[in-house]
Symmetry: C2
């Protein structure tokens, strides 16, 4: 295993400290009473959005803390759920009277710990569970579909709604709607290597592709011979459409997400292939995003996410956002 | 070789088409008379900044086309200089009366072709050559130091000067000043693989590090056993400081740049290590940037760049920029 690191045990703390220093105008790395990456300015009576999960998916979630998106992120150890008391500390730090919305990716550990935090928290809170991965129905770490890159879309759109002052019930309903309108599926060309394990999570041949891989290297639908980008985009978009069921003419957001070790040259090529697949199905790609957003350490590969957009969701997507990893508007 | 692609011969065209579609509000992919990635809105009498070079370094340079940075980028084939007629086409497309500033990384092919374009172009033009790589004095493809990630800093700062209306001579002098105030050095953990070659550019062991690698996989200073991030940051910052010679108390911009296949978790960790190295030398890290900006296809590795900042350069760095890969301000 070769990684830019010192000791395995210090890796997360050093990386988060670096993140905090690089984005000190946006995010505060709070360690008392528990590790929380919190937005510098509080929400002023607005709903506070809190997400979190195992580390190794950067920039998710700390990279989405800031104006128009998250109020706090709770980073767990690599591929390990944060603890309920981290989530509780986050809620107590950022709830400004509007209550807390937990945005939780559907993995058993995350679901259990966020539930526990909700019970421990004395303020009002509600949950949005993301489960957009159409590849498999259940997996190593999840009952039901896994939550993957559409979580970024949920956080962006609901973050804009919270920023304009929507209440807790409205933010929760909107988050559930965005999740239901979204589907994702990924492929891996290589495995990731968890630092504490020191060796690749799975073996994959020089001519093989894992179709439908999870963001922790969980098995996907099947192992196949390496495919052309057009064929990959075709299978991913087809499988997503079976689930999301967009009609012809449907405006969609198309997100092509890198798994961590895939260069932009290839991500934009996959985006081009995915646009052509959408065109063939009569879908209108009206918004798009290409880059590394929901990653799997040093895995080479990518995922495609489609979200059916309506007018309100499009407007909220376009609303200003100012975070380390997403930034546009005023 | 596994890459997200269709045919090797179509890789660049498909990727650029995807880039153009994803960023159509910023950049136009112009193919007549020659391939140019051009800014949507012209410079209105202001100096037009044009850069370019071999592809494979994305988001450099097309990702820096837009408000406050480049007016056009000329992408060559992978690791191959663009042609003089591409550069000429770019100048004719974006010169709005203020003349053209060519920003050229110091590689023999690029230097020769940009010189030829300058001779062919009937309008006014001037050149800024970047040669910030302190690792080696000459290399496979360069006489003198190679131009690497400080090119991003030059393009950002001079782009802001052009946007506020500085004339051609002032923009050239500023670019030369920023380049002279900057030094960079990189490391590779793995080789890149050029698509047309189909195999890694160089062999490197599972426990080895190439110190001072070039962005085309050119040899660096030496091949060593894998080092801890603190030791890497120490050697890079030390070598850069020998060249850039900052005094104690000097305000600097610190850029930690990924080579393409290095996850953010590791880049922020290297940033943390580099900040501590700067602290030890009494340097003040007043501005920073962490991410993939000047890459080398699918190489795992990173580079560190330091730029001595003065008040004017800091203000121009902070000025609004709106491109695919850098975006802040109004």
């Amino acid at each position: 295993m070769k990684k830019l690191m010192n000791r395995v045990d210090d890796m997360l703390a050093e990386s988060l400290r670096g993140f905090g220093a690089a984005h000190r105008e946006l995010v505060e790395v709070s360690t008392e009473p528990k590790l929380v990456m919190r937005r510098k300015r509080k929400a002023d009576g607005r709903v506070a959005l809190i997400s979190g999960g195992g580390s190794g998916h950067e920039p998710m979630h700390a990279g989405f803390v800031g104006h128009g998106m998250l109020d706090a992120a709770c980073p767990g150890e690599v591929f390990t759920s944060p603890t309920p008391d981290q989530m509780l500390a986050a809620a107590e730090a950022v709830d400004a009277g509007g209550g807390v919305l937990w945005i939780v990716k559907n993995y058993s550990g995350d679901v259990m710990n966020f539930e526990m935090a909700g019970e421990m928290y004395s303020g009002r809170s509600a949950t949005v569970l993301t489960n957009d991965d159409v590849a498999v129905e259940s997996s190593l770490h999840s009952q039901g579909r896994r939550g993957v890159a559409a979580t970024v879309v949920v956080e962006k759109i609901v973050g804009a709604a919270a920023e304009r002052g929507d209440d807790l019930a409205a933010c929760q309903a909107l988050g559930q709607k965005v999740n239901a309108a979204s589907g994702s599926m990924g492929v891996a060309l290589t495995s990731c290597t968890v630092p504490a394990a020191g060796r690749p999570t799975f073996d994959i041949g020089d001519d093989e592709l894992e179709l439908g891989v999870g963001i922790h290297g969980e098995p996907g639908r099947r192992r196949v011979a390496m495919m052309a980008a057009d064929a990959i985009a075709g299978e991913l978009v087809e499988t997503i459409c079976e689930s999301v069921a967009p009609k012809r003419g449907q405006p969609v957001l198309l997100l092509v997400n890198g798994m961590g070790a895939t260069p932009l040259l290839e991500l934009y090529l996959l985006f081009d292939a995915a646009v052509r697949q959408c065109d063939q199905r009569g879908l209108k790609v009206v918004r798009s995003l290409v880059g590394n957003f929901c990653t799997s350490l040093d895995m080479a590969g990518a995922s495609i996410t489609l979200t059916r957009l309506d007018e309100e969701m499009t407007g909220l997507w376009d609303a200003p956002v100012h975070t380390a990893a997403l930034r546009w508007g005023a």
